[in-house]
């Protein structure tokens, strides 16, 4: 039987990622934002100001939890202590759902704090499906998984990312957090058609959208979450949103973060697109010139601020 739209979870409207930059504003005011998303790891163990602010925010707004360290694809055993803490936080703030990424973050007990790509193989697929089952049993709720941006593929890949995600979501019976910017970033980096990606996804399993800005290096794009959403991403968002009938939409802004009102206005733009004519979409191609820089100096020393976010304003 096909699942209910959004796995029966609510359409929360248009939300913003809770960041330290917004704490003072949110302790003072209650701007009309529909919901907030937190980076789970920044609050799981907090007994200081971050948790104090979160409690105050959770009294006034729905909260969804978004993790970066579940490491669902790792061949290490699942961290049961981490899962228990995640579950406790979800209960305490009445989180509407819990999401993380289709990736792995480390092995042999290490954490790279990066969303590392999985080889898209049958072995990975079986491995991740089994682990989602264990996580859902522990959390006693569906897990929602996001497509990360990726910068490399593996020679042994035997699935496209959209097929991998679709099979995984169906077989593990989990939700999807579709990051439309990440689809665009990966399409640029790997040279696939983002429209095909979107067309193949099981839309009824999409529980949430992410939107964000990125940094185009010419030869590739880095998912830096440091500015407004580009027009091509809005165009893709319009197309997939129309097929879902409405899904919670969240704007991630993690570097050079402006005032909350600016971030709020950016996500409100998503709302205005609901009944607007479709924006034209053409996929730009990565700059044809091969990068010649030595690998030792190649690539931006960028922080992927979704998780470099760290409270140090004491």
């Amino acid at each position: 039987m096909p699942p209910q739209p959004r796995l029966g979870l609510p359409n929360l409207g248009f939300g913003v990622g809770l960041r330290g930059r917004f704490y003072d504003t949110l302790l003072r005011d209650t701007p009309p934002i529909d919901f907030f998303e937190i980076i789970s790891e920044n609050y799981m163990d907090s007994r200081g100001r971050p948790r104090h602010v979160l409690n105050a925010v959770a009294e006034r707004y729905p909260i969804v939890m978004h993790g970066v360290s579940l490491s669902i694809g790792s061949t290490d055993p699942l961290n049961r202590d981490y899962l228990r803490r995640l579950k406790t936080l979800a209960r305490e703030i009445d989180a509407v759902w819990i999401s993380d990424h289709l990736c792995w973050t480390g092995v042999a007990g290490h954490n790279s704090h990066d969303l590392l790509p999985l080889p898209l193989t049958e072995e990975s697929l079986r491995h991740v499906i089994a682990r989602i089952g264990q996580v859902q049993d522990e959390l006693e709720r569906p897990l929602v998984l996001e497509n990360p941006s990726s910068y490399m593929g593996f020679a042994e890949d035997s699935f496209t990312e959209w097929d991998f995600l679709s099979i995984l979501a169906e077989e593990a019976d989990c939700g999807l957090l579709l990051d439309v910017n990440n689809v665009f970033v990966s399409a640029y980096n790997h040279g696939f058609d983002p429209c095909t990606y979107l067309a193949r996804l099981p839309t009824e399993r999409i529980v949430q959208f992410h939107l964000a800005g990125h940094s185009n290096m010419g030869t590739h794009i880095i998912d830096t979450h440091n500015g407004p959403v580009i027009d091509e991403v809005w165009a893709l968002y319009q197309r997939i949103r129309a097929r879902t009938g409405g899904v919670a939409t969240l704007l991630e802004w993690d570097a050079d973060i402006p005032h909350l009102s600016v971030v709020h206005a950016e996500v409100q733009y998503a709302q205005t697109l609901e009944n607007a004519p479709l924006k034209p979409f053409t996929m730009p191609r990565a700059a044809a010139k091969k990068a010649t820089a030595d690998v030792a100096t190649f690539g931006p020393l960028t922080t992927q601020p979704e998780f470099a976010f760290h409270e140090t304003s004491h």
């Binding site: 100001r49 790279s112 980096n189 030869t219 990565a286 409270e311």
Partner: protein
């Protein structure tokens, strides 16, 4: 050599990629060959260059985080030298935690063990590493206190409880956010200046005693006289008031010179002690 498309186990692939991230300066030929075997090129980047994106991203993120955790040490060393220290630290102590909050936990240990004069007797060592160690210890305490347990939701001791504490009938309960720290340099003055955006010069050595604690979710520093500090250390380590007074010859002066509860009122205002029962 294996064919490029022969599948490796997922565990092998993950272990290889993690090694490549942690040791970007390893055997470049082997790294390039492995990348060409395991990673597909894009239209614009070679397999090795695509791997380099992850290597740079890993180091960039963690070094930026270290800089946020230790802005004082970063200022003292300059960004480039700090990055060198932080790189060596992370190579020896990579993260094992699900949270970036714990990334700097062993940085002070690293600085102590890897200082160039670590083998020399203490009186022959240089001052500069002492300054860095003290500053790093203070910065680590600040970040731990900022997000650790505090007493914001605890009722302050009532007047009757305060009298009972001074009479030895009730114990002094140190706040979980209180750290009594002794330094060889006035690193708190230096750190405050850095956080205000100033460019302080490295200070001269000066025996420094401070309390680091948290009031209304803000981390605060309070300077102490040595005898005042010793007296508070005794109380915090479980001595009762008469023992703490006996152990610190000048403390009775402090106790006597202040009106009955003067010093205690101040200690409570600074969130050194609390009255309720912590969960």
């Amino acid at each position: 050599m294996r064919q490029a498309t022969e599948p490796t186990s997922l565990a092998q692939t993950q272990s290889w990629l993690q090694q490549a991230l942690f040791n970007p300066a390893g055997d470049e030929n082997a790294l390039r060959q492995d990348a060409e075997e395991k990673v597909t090129p894009s239209a614009t980047l070679s397999a090795r260059q695509r791997l380099a994106v992850y290597q740079h991203s890993y180091w960039g993120r963690l070094l930026a985080c270290m800089g946020e955790l230790f802005p004082g040490v970063c200022h003292a060393l300059g960004a480039a030298v700090f990055e060198g220290f932080a790189t060596e630290y992370l190579t020896h102590f990579p993260s094992h935690s699900y949270s970036l909050d714990h990334l700097g936990t062993r940085f002070v240990t690293y600085l102590q063990h890897f200082r160039p004069d670590a083998q020399l007797p203490p009186d022959q060592r240089e001052g500069w590493p002492d300054f860095l160690e003290d500053l790093a210890a203070l910065e680590l305490a600040v970040s731990q206190i900022y997000d650790g347990p505090g007493i914001e939701d605890q009722p302050p001791p009532t007047e009757a409880q305060q009298v009972a504490m001074l009479q030895g009938a009730l114990p002094f309960k140190p706040a979980p956010c209180l750290r009594l720290m002794r330094f060889r340099y006035p690193v708190h003055v230096y750190l405050k200046a850095v956080k205000r955006g100033k460019h302080p010069a490295a200070p001269q050595p000066e025996s420094t005693h401070i309390a680091v604690t948290r009031c209304a979710f803000q981390v605060r520093f309070f300077e102490h006289h040595p005898w005042e500090h010793g007296f508070l250390e005794a109380l915090v380590s479980g001595s009762d008031l008469s023992q703490a007074l006996a152990q610190n010859s000048l403390a009775p002066v402090l106790h006597a010179q202040n009106p009955a509860q003067g010093w205690l009122t101040q200690a409570l205002r600074r969130a050194y002690f609390f009255g309720g029962d912590m969960a």
